[in-house]
């Protein structure tokens, strides 16, 4: 339990969670659910876009996921999204599959952490 908390603090910024809980009060859980559903949708779209090599969609979805993840206090996910967004901007598809699987993994950690906060 204690180990989990330490792990979560590396994935999601605790201060942000405190502020969001204050702002949204009982709606915090709804926010987390909304974010997670939205993020899952975007990750799915990213996957398809990568297969189709659609740089415009890659760029847009990565940007959006970066923004919402920042707002939820995710620590590493926004930076990974930013790298993917840049790949889209520069139209360099080379490192994308590796980057995308990093994002998938990191998102799972964020999901776990947030779900615990939303308790």
């Amino acid at each position: 339990m204690c180990g989990n908390m330490i792990d979560n603090s590396e994935v999601v910024k605790a201060e942000t969670i405190v502020e969001l809980k204050e702002i949204l009060a009982e709606d915090f859980g709804v926010l987390v659910t909304t974010y997670l559903e939205d993020a899952q949708l975007r990750i799915k779209r990213l996957q398809l876009a990568i297969v189709a090599a659609d740089v415009a969609v890659i760029k847009a979805e990565a940007h959006s996921l970066k923004g919402s993840s920042l707002n939820l206090g995710a620590m590493s996910l926004p930076e990974l999204c930013s790298q993917l967004e840049n790949c889209g901007i520069n139209e360099s598809l080379e490192g994308i599959p590796a980057l995308f699987s990093k994002i998938e993994n990191e998102f799972l950690r964020v999901e776990t952490a947030l779900s615990q906060y939303a308790g």
Binding site: I23, L31, A60, H63, L70, N71
Partner: protein, 575 residues
């Protein structure tokens, strides 16, 4: 009114529009904003945001930079366009990092950024700051609108006032063929006045005035000035009476430090003589057509409106002016016009420009061109007014200004009166305006006021000058002699202690008009008018055009008794 506008805005909940394609982001923003007490409108793309903006008119807009449908930049531009003069702060929501993208947001009309992750404290502070700016902007706008409304009103008033002013101050017979003038308004109103009027006797009065200052304050004094000038000239008053009256009026109405430099000239087209009163203006210039030379007429007096009536000096300068000679009068605006080096145009340049003219008719335009060229593009800082009046022979405007018919109106038709003036009165009172005024009460006679005035004026001056004062008219044969004669007359009048002139008028009306009998008697010794008196003989005693003129205007002229009484019969018909 401004305060009301703001109050209305405060009474209603302030609306904040949030446009973000990310639902979780929207949730966070909405919560923060509604916690501040604002109403939140949410859109998930640019198109939605724009239509929501147009429908709800929120006071402040938060836009995600990158959105589907219409992106943030384009949305910002459309919202700003739709807001028009209204200040709608647009804040970009962004996780953009590079400077170019941020600059692009500002170029699109964005007012600030809010970066992700959102901070409650910063968002709160920014909303407050922008709403304060908005109120200030609305206040400023309301004041601006108020000012521009006042300004429009003021300009309208000035236009109306200017039309009235122009009717009063630049009218009369300024369009006479012997007059050229230039008036350059520095402001809408300038301080310069140009007046010209035909005298009942056929001569002309002109007046150029330059009030201190510009604009409305300078223009106000011009109104009574013009009124006195036209009224008194029309009633037959002489130049000294008019200039003294104007001075008295201006002295009584103008505040200290406001006065009017002026030059008034009485043109006598018969005798080819001018009488000039000039105060505070640059020298007037008399151009002699025959010799192509110029002479200067100094301004000898203080400006009008400074001296009290008791100290006011009405002394005139009497000058000959041959037919074709031209008198130039200008305000100091012309001699003090500056070129780009700050030098003044000066009177010398004006005279040079006159010498440069190929012919007399180009004198005026030569001066005009010279001033314009001299000044170049430099700013004018005074009104430039220039007037040219040419001495002409018989003046034709007489009837144009006396064409008011009052035939058929009520008024005295059959009457007689006698009016006797003693020495004390004769010394400094001109009875002609009063006499003319009484006689002109006869309905229908007004169009003939010029002729009647001329008859009365000639008979009265004979009675006074030859009868009462005993002056010899022979010296009047030359123009130079006329000036001497005029000076003699002044001297004799000052010493006058006995004598009288008696006017007797009788008027009888008829269906076609009427008969006016004017009889003048004086205390002089008369002259031998014994039988077979001819006008030729009379002319030897009363030289000049006086009596032949009276004879040509009347139906009969008869000397009576010892020759100190004369009676003329003037038969007139409705115009």
């Amino acid at each position: 009114m401004n305060m009301q506008l703001l109050a209305t805005e405060q009474d209603q909940k302030i609306k904040v529009l949030v446009a973000d394609d990310n639902e979780s982001d929207r949730m966070i923003l909405s919560s923060i904003i509604s916690k501040q007490g604002y109403e939140v409108l949410v859109a998930s793309n640019g198109k939605e945001a724009l239509s929501l903006f147009e429908r709800e008119r929120p006071q402040i807009v938060l836009l995600d930079a990158i959105m589907p449908e219409m992106d943030g930049m384009e949305t910002a531009r459309s919202i700003k366009r739709s807001a028009g003069d209204d200040f709608i702060p647009v804040l970009f929501l962004t996780s953009l990092q590079d400077a170019n993208s941020l600059a692009e947001c500002l170029d699109a009309g964005g007012d600030d950024f809010l970066s992700k992750p959102y901070s409650q404290i910063i968002l709160k502070a920014k909303l407050n700051a922008f709403l304060r700016m908005r109120s200030m902007h609305s206040l400023m706008q309301a004041q601006r609108d108020e000012i521009s409304k006042h300004n429009r009103h003021l300009i309208h008033e000035q236009k109306v006032a200017k039309a009235v002013f122009d009717n009063v101050a630049h009218s009369g017979c300024l369009n006479s063929p012997n007059i050229k003038f230039m008036l350059s308004p520095l402001a809408m109103f300038n301080g310069d006045v140009l007046l010209a009027a035909v005298k009942p006797s056929g001569g002309m009065h002109i007046l150029l005035g330059d009030f201190t200052g510009h604009g409305l304050p300078a223009a106000i004094g011009a109104m009574p000035m013009a009124e006195i000038f036209y009224f008194m000239t029309n009633k037959g008053f002489g130049i000294t009476d008019i200039i003294a009256e104007i001075n008295m009026k201006l002295k009584s109405i103008l505040p200290v430090g406001v006065f009017c430099c002026g030059c008034m000239v009485d043109f006598n087209f018969d005798k080819q003589v001018i009488r000039v009163w000039s105060g505070g203006l640059p020298d007037s210039i008399l151009y002699h057509s025959g010799s192509k030379t110029v002479s200067r007429i100094e301004s000898k007096h203080l400006a009008l409106g400074i001296r009290s009536p008791d100290d006011f000096n009405t002394e005139l300068q009497v000058l000959e002016m041959a037919k074709g000679d031209r008198l130039f009068i200008c305000s100091d605006g012309i001699s003090e016009a500056l070129n780009s080096n700050g030098e003044m145009f000066g009177e010398e340049r004006m005279i040079d420009a006159m010498h440069a003219a190929e012919e007399d008719d180009k004198l005026f335009s030569s001066i005009q061109d010279s001033v314009t060229t001299f000044m170049g593009d430099s700013e004018r800082d005074d009104d430039i007014t220039l007037l040219e009046v040419k001495m002409v022979g018989d003046f034709e405007l007489l009837n144009e200004h006396t064409n008011i018919s009052n035939a058929g109106q009520k008024g005295p038709k059959d009457w007689s009166m006698q009016y006797e003036l003693g020495a004390n009165t004769l010394r400094d009172f001109n009875p002609l305006p009063l006499m003319l005024q009484i006689v002109m009460e006869v309905p229908g006679l007004r169009p003939y006021s010029g002729q009647v005035y001329t008859i009365m004026a000639e008979l009265f001056s004979n009675a006074l000058e030859h009868g009462v004062l005993g002056l010899d008219s022979n010296i009047k044969e030359t123009a130079a002699g006329f000036i001497e004669y005029y000076e003699d007359r002044t001297r004799h009048l000052e010493r006058l202690d006995s004598g009288f002139v008696r006017f007797k008028f009788t008027h009888r009306s008829s269906t076609e008009g009427g008969v006016l009998i004017v009889r003048l008697e004086d205390s002089g010794s008369g002259f031998d008018h014994d039988d077979k008196l001819t006008l030729g003989l009379q002319r030897s005693r009363y030289s000049g055009r006086g009596l032949p003129l009276v004879q040509s205007l009347t139906d009969s002229i008869e000397y009576l008794g010892v020759g100190n009484a004369v009676e003329v019969t003037y038969v007139w018909q409705y115009d």
